[in-house]
Amino acid sequence: MELVRMEGIVKRFGSITADDHVDFDLMSGEIHALLGENGAGKTTLMRILAGEISPDEGKILIRGREVGMLNPKKAMDLGVGIVHQHFMLVEGFTVAENLILALEESLVGSLREVSSRIVEVSRAYGMNLNPNAVVADLSMGERQKVELLKVLCRDSEILILDEPTTVLTPDERRNLFSTLLRMKERGKGVVLITHRLEEIFQVADRVTVLRRGRVVDTRFVDEVSPSELAVMMIGRDLPRVVRPDPPSSNGVVLKVENLSSGRLRNVSLEVRRGEILGLAGISGNGQKELVESIVGLRKVSKGKIYLEGVDVTNMTPRRLYDMGVAYIPEDRVGEGIVPDMSIAENLALKFYRRMGSLLLDRRGIVEMASRLMESFDIKPKSPLLPAGNLSGGNVQRMVCARELSTEPKLLIAHNPTRGLDIAATSQVREMIVEQSKKGTAIFFVSEDLDELMNLSHRLAVMSSGEIVGVLNPREYDPERIGKMMAS
């Protein structure tokens, strides 16, 4: 049976067309993957179905009936349940209170009923949630379970999951997929929004590929190959990033000496001109502390940091920037940009002081921004748009544009490709390699081992706040590195 049919959906945000005449349908008892890069219009399309955004054009049929204007309540009543990528939970509430809010339950006594239902349903799906736990205290994986519980308890027939696996461990992901398959067996229709190809082959029956707001194609999963999908998704073959030869000149740019501070224990390392030094480690082993100490965001109590021989320990970020340190922070939206300011203003955040005049040269800033947006491929090309409206890949290209345009001596990049789609990932990697060719010393912190082994001239491994070893490319061996990270 056909649960959903969306025809000719158009949604514009200002001058951007997020969805451009999109057709989509969902049958009962199927998992339909919605594949596309960041910003392809997947989430917008599904939020339209969930009644959270109203489309500018097009019509929606649910179980064969045209539904007219949707709102979240109406969509819910029609059996549409959505699990957002960013959880829609009240953090100050308990699990039970969140469920009461989400469900159509009434009244005092039912708090106990809801609690027992939570235990019952979560146990049935192997989730094990405490109804009285406050959401603010739960891990990301547990919060997602609360979200799933919300739709499961509501008996929604049409389930939308927006990038559900991003926050999950491999184990949790397997559990989630088996839950999805069980839902499918019970005749529900599941929409899985993703940009990970392997997930599609693990669970989906059909796949619709979106690119720049348009449907490229809808196919049965067993009639399509991963490489076909990849090409549909990004529209071209990916260039491989080639690590350049290590530089001949050996000038040391960054030198960290016996740094001990917080979680860090006696950390020493060196990055030379034109060299990419990778830092591998399981998240939370001191990488963030080390990075923030180097860029001046964290006070160092013991040890020294030198930039080209000059002691820069505990210098302010601005002085470090003036001395040629660039920084791509891990939390790109929180620390990398000011979302409410325009793209041009964000790009000018560092160089405006070099423009020399007392008043800001607005025209100059916009011109400079347009040039950077062109050369760093930031879309849409409207420098006056608030930076917060950009998709993840474009935000990161913008951060790179700002940091790299200053021709830094040292670049600190912390998880610069995390959460980006394939094309943006390879662009960011290319930019970093290009930068090293220009002689910039690069300290590259990542949790993606393949990426580290692919790009780094040398690879330092961190565990419990210590550097447990520095390897040369000949010694790159995932198993060995894995053991070092866990030591």
Partner: protein, 289 residues
């Protein structure tokens, strides 16, 4: 001594009513600093109607309606127009106090006939005292033990989530703000009609501000507001009683305000706010994208 406690309890009534209303408004995310203005207007409305009809119940009812009407203006600005709630609230204080001063000029010094102030009493406290205390219990139950309470709190904590489950965020905020105005107006009416019995300019004397501090003092909890209101009421009445012991009247009069400032300073830090459970979206307008 007993009299000073009894007066304190009587002064606690308007503080309690006004802060209960403000608790509901703030729990839904709307900060209405206009309490003083709504109380002032309510005080005048109640006084005028009681003087004319001799019926204090009718007076209090009118006061409540006037308070609610004023609060709807605040709701319109802060919810529909998404204006700045602090500015709008302060404007409401000026409008309410200004209007009551202007219209009340003719009443200055006029006493209400004794008969029209008489309402049933028990153990030295009038009916409204008991009604207010019972009301705070009911409001606590609604807020923490019913679905309606969860809906109200969710709107103040995270309106986007409430919206996503089909709650009409704007409607809830309008309702809670109007309820706050209703109680603030009634609180003002109580001061002029039951407590004072005579019209003087500036009759609410800053009680609206104390009520706002009480909301924080009570950590947005209607049950705790009872204790807070009694404490503030007694501190205020101490101001009257201790004068006889040669302590400066001015110093004593400033006590409730000093206490208010202390509460506000302590509660204004972000970490304290989170710990004592301030609604996370307090003062923030809600836009659906």
């Amino acid at each position: 001594m007993l009299e000073f406690v009894s007066t304190g309890l009587q002064l606690a009534v308007p503080l309690l009513l006004a802060s209960l209303g403000e608790i509901y408004a703030e729990r839904s995310g709307v900060m209405n600093l206009g309490v003083e203005g709504m109380m002032s207007a309510g005080a005048l409305a109640s006084f005028a109607i009681t003087l004319k009809t001799g019926n204090p119940a009718l007076g209090l009812l009118t006061a409540a309606i006037v308070g609610a009407a004023l609060s709807l203006a605040h709701a319109f600005i802060s919810v529909t127009l998404r204006g700045n709630q602090v500015v709008s609230g302060l404007a409401l204080v000026m409008v309410g106090c200004g209007l009551s001063s202007l219209i009340g000029r003719g009443y200055v010094g006029t006493p209400l006939p004794m008969g029209s102030r008489r309402i049933p009493a028990l153990l030295g406290q009038d009916l409204i005292f008991y009604v207010s205390v019972t009301l705070s219990g009911i409001l606590w139950l609604v807020l923490f033990r019913t679905r309606a309470g969860i809906v109200i709190r969710s709107v103040g904590e995270n309106p986007a989530v409430a919206d996503s489950v089909g709650v009409n965020v704007h409607a809830i905020r309008y309702l809670c703000t109007a309820f706050g105005g209703l109680l603030a107006g009634a609180a003002g009416g109580y001061i002029s009609t039951i407590h004072n019995g005579m019209w003087v300019d500036g009759i609410t004397a800053g009680m609206g501000w104390i009520a706002i501090a009480l909301v924080i003092f009570a950590t947005w909890d209607p049950a705790k507001a009872v204790g807070g209101a009694v404490l503030f009421g007694i501190v205020e009445s101490a101001g009257y009683s201790l004068q006889n012991f040669g302590i400066s009247q001015w110093l004593l009069n400033s006590l409730p305000y000093a206490l208010t400032i202390v509460v506000l300073v302590v509660a204004s830090s972000r970490s304290v706010k989170r710990r004592i459970g301030a609604p996370a979206a307090l003062g923030e307008p809600y836009f659906r994208e």
